[in-house]
Subunit: 137 residues, 2 copies
DNA sequence: ATAAAATCTATCAATATAGTAGAGTTTTGA
DNA sequence: TCAAAACTCTACTATATTGATAGATTTTAT
């Protein structure tokens, strides 16, 4: 399941993608427009900024705006940024690999192979879900 | 990610599936064979019993054994039993549906459609991973 | 009866989640 | 230059979940 953070992040990105080009959105606008607790959203937007999905302008008339095309922001990326690995176990993960400590046979645990198949399928599907695809549903 | 419970459940089922027909396995055997904390495994086996994947015999010479074909036990089922919904949000779930409370438009949240696509893909893949398929990897 | 095994219920520590609070910094325009 | 508006940063908190452990109870075979 997605965390609330990841869900809110997607909704915030969706909100930003629906604004006019060059429009800059204040946190409070996004919060109200997408129904997200404002103070929580502040943290999420900072995370999205660190992830280089959005950028911001401080001070009066400041706010947030997309710096990545809505066609290039995928569910996979947002999942990884907020919820980590897409694979079902760390030993089957591409980006968050860790050895299973409870596996006797060092490299290959009995589940790893099957879970890598799932990972590849899920990843492929998650890569196709972009912010743009969510708008034009 | 899978919980330890779900992971241990899969490993326990794998262990049981690898035993001779009619063999009955004591918890301690499974625990040592699959490297799972014994007391924790006890709970997991009871869950698997309630889920009708295994059955048990009490008393001396008792233990656990599969009552479902290893070809019919899928990752999807084990995920649902121990970790719940396969979908990324409750509003996109088949078996654990709940409305998104933060969605303004009652029935359709902006993410639902995309997440249902992911769910279908993941589910299809998870359905193909069976205990049998994990053995003959 | 006794030993071996499953079963049941309770408890616990550590961690993650979902937020809230408030002070600090930057920018703008009057 | 000053104040308001906005982002930024750090800390805190309540609650739930996870990953176990402990111990008493019940069942069965010999």
């Amino acid at each position: 399941m997605l965390s609330h953070k990841a869900k809110y992040a997607l909704k915030a990105l969706l909100y930003l993608a629906e604004q006019d080009e060059n429009h800059i959105s204040k946190t409070i606008e996004i919060a109200e427009g997408a129904n997200i607790p404002k103070k929580f959203l502040e943290q999420i937007l900072l995370d999205l900024k660190r992830g280089r999905f959005v950028s911001s302008k401080q001070g009066k008339f400041g706010g947030y705006y997309l710096i990545k095309s809505k066609n290039d922001i995928t569910l996979a990326e947002i999942h990884r940024l907020f919820d980590g690995a897409i694979a079902l176990l760390p030993c089957a993960s591409l980006n968050f690999y860790e050895r299973c400590l409870d596996c006797k046979t060092e490299e290959e645990c009995s589940l790893r192979h099957g879970l890598m198949i799932i990972r590849d399928e899920t990843l492929k599907a998650m890569h196709n879900i972009t912010i743009a695809s969510l708008i034009t549903k």
